[in-house]
């Protein structure tokens, strides 16, 4: 009997024609979805003579595009992007671990309300808040600090991320209470319990947060757009648009800069792919 592992049972197709059709289909989808990105990689190292050429086959190898990009200050934008992603990730992880510890391991009046409020912000797209958020950033309530024009303004708001708190809370709930009790009897304080009992068990969740946080921050556009005042605070994402608006900058430079903005996310994704898929499917299926 034929084995049915998948809905269409494509895996059991044998014979030369079936195989050729399958390989052709795979090649087609890879060409459509990954082709443009490969073209970006190849063209960045090629001599770009006019604004129309993207090539999949390397020819005329050169580093001129990158030289041009560095001349436009792209290294600085890259550094800004890395600072924002590093600071943002640290903040997101610290905030969500701390909040999840309370939400998952403590019982107190109001815990459901807090969870509900945090959940509700997931329905609140940041684009919609853009204008009032820009006013808040210019004059943060209570402490009256102006975050516009500083990288801190792109980092600090990233700490309020409901998804990270929910993922972390889900994971921490599953840590057996006996582990915590045993540590408490041994005289461990709150910090010790969190650091050496709970967190080690939640390592997979930290991986999920790391990869999702990175992708989310690297994709940030609205927040940097609201905060940056001049090119000194530009992230790579912002710079790509301003480079395009500059007539003196050729397509080759834009392609090279786009590649620099692409590579970190692809590398991180490939390195932490398993965690990514886990987070994607668990988060999505649980809703």
């Amino acid at each position: 009997m034929r084995q049915l592992d998948t809905a269409l049972g494509l895996g059991s197709i044998r014979g030369p024609i079936g195989r050729i059709v399958k390989v052709a289909l795979y090649a087609l989808v890879v060409f459509i979805f990954a082709g443009p990105l490969v073209a970006l990689l190849v063209s960045a190292f090629g001599r770009v003579t006019d604004p129309t050429r993207l090539s999949l086959i390397p020819h005329d190898l050169t580093l001129d595009n990158f030289r041009g990009a560095f001349h436009q200050g792209v290294l600085r934008y890259l550094a800004n992007s890395l600072i924002v992603v590093g600071g943002g990730l640290l903040l997101q992880i610290a905030v969500s671990v701390s909040a999840a510890y309370a939400l998952a391991r403590k019982q107190f009046p109001g815990v459901r309300l807090v969870l509900l409020l945090i959940l509700a912000t997931m329905m609140l797209p940041e684009e919609i808040l853009a204008i009032p958020l820009s006013l808040v950033l210019a004059d943060v309530p209570v402490i009256h600090v102006n975050l516009v024009g500083s990288l801190a303004g792109m980092i600090v708001p990233l700490g309020a991320w409901a998804f990270a708190i929910l993922v972390m809370t889900e994971f921490m709930r599953d840590v057996p209470l006996e582990l915590e009790e045993a540590a408490r009897i041994d005289g461990a304080g709150e910090m010790r319990i969190l650091w050496s009992v709970i967190l080690p068990v939640c390592r997979p969740a930290l991986g999920v947060l790391g990869i999702f946080g990175f992708t989310m921050i690297w994709d940030q556009y609205v927040l940097p757009l609201l905060v940056a005042q001049d090119s000194r605070q530009f992230t790579l994402a912002l710079a790509l648009r301003s480079l395009r608006a500059d007539d003196q900058v050729g397509t080759g430079v834009i392609i090279a800069s786009a590649l620099l903005a692409l590579l970190p996310s692809v590398v991180v994704f490939l390195a932490l792919q398993r965690q990514f898929m886990r987070g994607l499917t668990s988060g999505a299926i649980k809703g």
Binding site: P36, L40, P51, L54, S96, A99, M191, L262
Partner: protein, 322 residues
């Protein structure tokens, strides 16, 4: 900011915990109440960093948006209460209505498009073989690529000259050159295609997870009854994936309504307003023309639409479960 949660915890916690231990033997009742209050206080301390950040960057802006939507915002002069005037101005504005129309077309088109493409991809690439894993990874890359890169790349691909990248590829199969983003007739569809290109692989992964949950013995049973692959899909796989469809539709629709960055970077609403959506219009009103009240009213209307859609999907999902 980063150090705050780390510092608050330990100083607040270990002290009382240690003092509590001897007391437990002598006065169990009083210790119980005190310990409970200390427990509550520690919990709130751990929550404090998150609560402060959410308050400052989510709830305060939200409240600001609501209050500004009822006011004429005048810097230095003080705001003036105008009731529903801003909402009336927004709803009566042809540009806003056109933008809302574009937003809906884009959201519906992208939702349906990425579900259909995502489902085809999922069915094609489902399985545990190693080469399938490789193809899936390659196909998934657009989803993790920053929108700014996607936009820069597609503006080059869409270059409207006959020898532009996409026009050359279409030339191989004998299709004529198009204007894509540069023509008001095709711009919205071109933006939609980029949206589908980027979100279909995401839907694919969720569908693959859904397909993995389908009971394999049902396939065998259906095959034994003589059902072909298509009937197997329709009668076995799809019914058990109904919750997955609801989730994907909801996520995609919400993603579609809030669309801003794609448009801002690909066309900025042009040519001649053919791709203007609610958020790009709100951005222009708010930050370029300083009509903060009217811009807020527009945002709030979009937010209400998003919330209604989310709740509707929740209701639908609950109905499905029964």
């Amino acid at each position: 900011m980063t150090a705050a949660p780390v510092r608050e915890g330990p100083t607040a916690a270990p002290g009382p915990a240690r003092r509590r231990r001897p007391a437990r033997k002598q006065r169990p009742a009083r210790r119980g109440r005190r310990a409970r209050w200390i427990g509550y206080a520690t919990a709130w301390l751990w929550l404090a960093p998150a609560l402060i950040l959410f308050a400052l960057f989510k709830f305060v802006p939200m409240a600001r948006a609501i209050s500004m939507s009822f006011k004429e915002v005048r810097p230095y002069l003080g705001d003036r209460w105008v009731g529903l005037d801003n909402y009336r101005a927004v709803l009566g504005d042809d540009a806003f209505r056109a933008a809302a129309g574009h937003t809906v077309v884009l959201a519906v088109g992208e939702t349906i498009g990425s579900i259909v493409v995502g489902l085809i991809l999922a069915l094609l690439l489902e399985g545990t073989a190693r080469h399938l894993w490789f193809v899936r990874t390659a196909v998934f890359l657009p989803t993790v690529t920053a929108m700014a890169v996607v936009a820069a790349l597609w503006r080059i691909i869409y270059y409207p000259a006959p020898d532009g990248a996409l026009n050359s590829v279409l030339g191989w199969v004998g299709l004529g050159p198009g204007q894509y983003l540069d023509s008001p007739h095709t711009s919205l569809w071109s933006v939609m295609a980029v949206g589908i290109w980027r979100s279909a692989p995401y839907d694919m992964m969720i569908f693959i997870a859904g397909l993995a949950g389908v009971d394999r013995t049902l396939y065998e049973a259906a095959a034994a009854d003589g059902a072909g692959p298509l009937r197997r899909l329709w009668h076995v796989a799809f019914p058990s994936m109904r919750p997955v469809f609801t989730i994907v539709v909801t996520l995609a629709a919400i993603r579609g309504l809030r669309v801003f960055t794609e448009i801002f970077l690909l066309t900025n609403g042009g040519p001649s307003g053919s791709t203007e959506v609610v958020m790009t219009l709100v951005y222009k009103l708010g930050l370029e023309r300083n009509e903060l009240g009217i811009a807020s009213a527009g945002s709030i209307l979009l937010l209400v639409a998003t919330i209604v859609l989310t709740l509707l999907a929740q209701l639908l999902r609950r109905g499905n479960h029964k």
